[in-house]
Point group: C2
Amino acid sequence: MKIIVDGFGGDNAPGEIVKACVMALEEFQDLEIIITGQTDGIKACLEKNGYTGSRIEIVEAPDVISCEDENPAMQIRLKPNSSLVVALNILRQNEDVKALISAGSTGAVLSGGFLKVGRIKGVSRPALAPTLPSKDDGKGVVLLDCGANVDSKPINLCHFALMGSIYYSKMYGVENPKVALLSNGTEDAKGNELTKEVFAMLKKLPINFVGNMEARDLLSGKYDVVVSDGFAGNVALKATEGAAMFVLKTLKEKIKSSFSAKIGALLLKSTFKELKAKLDYKQYGGSLFLGCKKNIFKAHGDSKAPAFLACIRQAVKAAEKDINTEIELALEKLEIEE
Amino acid sequence: MKIIVDGFGGDNAPGEIVKACVMALEEFQDLEIIITGQTDGIKACLEKNGYTGSRIEIVEAPDVISCEDENPAMQIRLKPNSSLVVALNILRQNEDVKALISAGSTGAVLSGGFLKVGRIKGVSRPALAPTLPSKDDGKGVVLLDCGANVDSKPINLCHFALMGSIYYSKMYGVENPKVALLSNGTEDAKGNELTKEVFAMLKKLPINFVGNMEARDLLSGKYDVVVSDGFAGNVALKATEGAAMFVLKTLKEKIKSSFSAKIGALLLKSTFKELKAKLDYKQYGGSLFLGCKKNIFKAHGDSKAPAFLACIRQAVKAAEKDINTEIELALEKLEIEE
């Protein structure tokens, strides 16, 4: 299997990215990786990691799209020689390249994916689909859309639900994953104009739709897939992140202010480590841009090698499971009136 | 000053509600409280708390609207003799009654407030405005709307911003509180159709509008007032609650699984208590239904006496500051084109 990696996307590129690629080649014996970016920089990183094999191909791309660059859609046009755009073009043109992974600007990855690679036939809008920690079995919950479409139509959310259900089922081996609709209450009648319309449509889809849910239950483990418009989904994701960070930060401050607490914290060191690991959603890899013709994974911008490796693992699995073909087939069978 | 309390709203009514009232009378020497509900039950609670004074008046109301009752708006019509509706009627009819506090069904309090008490002149839609913990100075952040209006128009959000700014400024003594718009990114161009339109309008209002914010920063202390449509605001509020609960629950589980962690946790007992206290947003009282002609506070359904007392304190302060008159004056001066 061949995948392509944006070698110059993210805060720790190219060092941690290349390191993760080398680790992935050790793990997957039949994997080949194309890395795009400044050849010299990538070569130096390969040397540093002692890699001398032939399963990595470097494709020169002198430019970089940075997270600070404004208007990511424009950057895709302005920087045809950036590591991201070069990677997107190769992904589109080569059938044997099965997935792309980038830790670069989310906006650029989404715009680039949409413009350069395009949608699966029948998908109105692709959605950004991260996995968040929830259950103890490590399966997590997939929340989509998290911001690819800030203004969504009912048909979009139906596609999100169907795609999310297939994705979850294939990736985690769960039959009939529980799909919920993000709302302002659990009762059937709750919701805004959009979700009320979507609610009725989801009931008719060939998925295990379990009804409305409250954002309070996002991490509760009650649901496998949570469907939302991109605006509310983004709010849910970021509020969750912010609150978790706030709790940990407050705890840290309180510990610092007392001597006995400091001793207690020493005894809890490994517990805190486990807690952090459980909360770290980078463990699940990145966010799939679900609905694109080919799998594009957005790794977290601050990914170090282990997080990026988790994302490569996810990409390999998604390619093996041929999720996109499944989605295309499911959409062909689907009859929704827009 | 006279206020009215729904004696039979919430999980711990009437016991904790009446107890909080007795505590409030000790704290505020010029306060008088009307309590609505089943007279015998309230009398028994007063006796239990050793109250024999004349500053509590009981108004009989045999019925109760429960949180389990469906269609809260309908309940307001179906149960005219409920403790909530009787209280709302007294609030509306008596100028000397300055505020109402209920720990009952949020939907019923909102519907009842809207139908029975009505809006401040010029306010298109009132908004549910809780205060969340954020800063160390105990001032918190006011988030509105949190669910009174799931489908909001740009003009509604402008009113939320103005009302929130006045509320914050009067309640916390902060001049020109920082008002932010909840969005999917901090850049000016971020947002959905609604927030983009609102963004331009907020720039023209006589408030300290500091731009878009991400849900990640809700508790960061960077902002005083956060404006949102009721759907996304509800999602932000509940995702925050859910994530904080998830972190504490996970920590508890991890501690249980290790002996040294258990010892450490003992040493951290008071730290954990402080942490919980800081996260407990009941410390700030309840959520004001901001924009109603008279102050209606929704206390948390599971409020015990201290939380309900905090809400009474908040109601007394809001009445002293005459927030509603300030809002009416500000709206008279305002020129917004709908």
